[in-house]
Amino acid sequence: MIDQLNWSATIVFVVFFAVVTILGFVASRWKAGDLAQLQEWGLGGRRVGTGSTWFLLGGDLYTAYTVIAVPALVYAVGAYGFFAVPYTIIAYPLVFVTMPRLWSVAHRRGFLTAGDFVSGRYGNKWLELAVAFTGILATMPYIALQLIGMEKVIQALGFQGGGTLGSHLPLTIAFIILALYTYRSGLRAPAMIAFVKDFMIYAFVIAAIIIIPVKLGGYGAIFEAAQQAYDAAQKASDAKGSGATFGLLLKPAQFAAFITVAIGSAMALFMYPHSMTGVLSASSSNAIKRNSILLPAYSLVLGLIALMGFMGHAAGIKVSNPQDVVPQLFLKMFSDANWFVGFVFAAIAIGALVPAAVMSIGAANTFTRNIWRPFVQPNLTGAAEAFLAKLASLVVKVGALLVILFIPAKFAIDFQLLGGVWMIQVFPAVVFGLYTRWFNGWALLAGWAVGMALGTWLSLGAQGVTVTHSVFDLFIAYNGFVSVLANLAVSAVLTLLVPNTSPDTTGREDYESGASVHAAPVRGVAVAARG
């Protein structure tokens, strides 16, 4: 099982992992609050300042899976994989405009989730359910992918086991530890671990983008080697007539897909429960605005990480699964510095813990607030609510672990791609709702259903999931983008036809207040409004 273990790398790996485990448990005392309240457990008491929010959101959005998957896509197809950069560029202007409003209304009305907001705004618990369901559905595979990211590096350390349990043993142990400290400390645990994770990621990326090119003869040589690899891949693909496209530049036929995937991904990003959790835990709307200026620093790191796909070609890495390219690149380039390999792999594994924890908390908040309370037990007390959310966070993580243990990774990857297409369908209800109450809740629900169905139908192809599809044979576009336009059209037309009588418990001033000097969050207002 451990005959081929890279010992020095493994020791460094384990030491870092132990440090963050301790941090995760002691985090419950950080900015101490009553962890038997959901707002404290699930949002860190909304007391996370600008600096900590930067670490938390950075740690939360730029996940371990990203570090593995973005270079993997770049390695596999080239320029198209770089859509992650324009995607993250356009995400933050959007955040700057919309999320401070969401924070304000959530703070004033005691909302913890997007579902809470939709319920308060449109007075429609079925729309609330749709938003909650979408969030949980899209989050589950995303958590599973964090595990894949973690497992890739554990395997690369040389750990080989027999049987289902044997091969997944380290991952299972890591995940149980994660589940325990998330249960105990709530959002404080990933918020604290994020400090360590982000420093480690910055350190390894900066070292990698300087040292690896030196060893490979500079960036010019790296791009040249990549160009040759794509030319060869294109030739082989053309010979088979597969229609796939490779290259250091995009073909004109890829432009529409590249642009719409970037826009659609940016629209979906902050609809995910874990992004919402990160945003709503901020101590003021000003902290969110400052973060939309500062968070692009992580995008730069992501862009640099993407370049590792090209470095893989230049280093002569040949892998059948592109997701192995980053671990293999580091093993090969730093074979003389195994401690550094251990450091990098620890950074990636810890990079999986932060988002996995926040995602499970976001999903748990959503389940408790928007599914259990409105539909099962409307008179839930604060303490019971927090306890239920803690349990839900455990269930979500165990579910993700079971997916990894028993279902092929391809399933989680396909499911997560569909997750983006689904997540964008709540955009009209949530983001437009921050500006206008013109839309009818039922119309938005119908639009959501149409968007979900259309997006899924477009994505399910003969060879598994593809997130782009030809639009009337004119151009190829992102399914999430096309389906959210259909969603919006249905919502608008039905709003014109159906009388809009449901109550709105939010007021105009709720969206504008930036300062936290206003009255303490009005817990329970949302409950009262539900009747």
Partner: protein, 56 residues
């Protein structure tokens, strides 16, 4: 004015046909890559301008 500051980086980041070229290269990077990477701090600067513009 606030929105104008925010739209500029979005338009530039999505002007794909414009930056889809190899030349001019910079430190061995084709234009496509160094332009997009350079756009990240530029976008941050534009958001900062919007923030400044909004503050009383």
């Amino acid at each position: 004015m606030k929105y104008a500051y925010l739209i500029i980086p979005c338009v530039l980041a999505l002007a794909t046909p414009f930056y889809n070229t190899v030349e001019p290269t910079l430190f061995g990077f084709p234009f496509f890559y160094w332009f997009l990477l350079a756009m990240i701090p530029v976008s941050s600067a534009f958001i900062y301008l919007a923030y400044r513009n909004e503050a009383p």
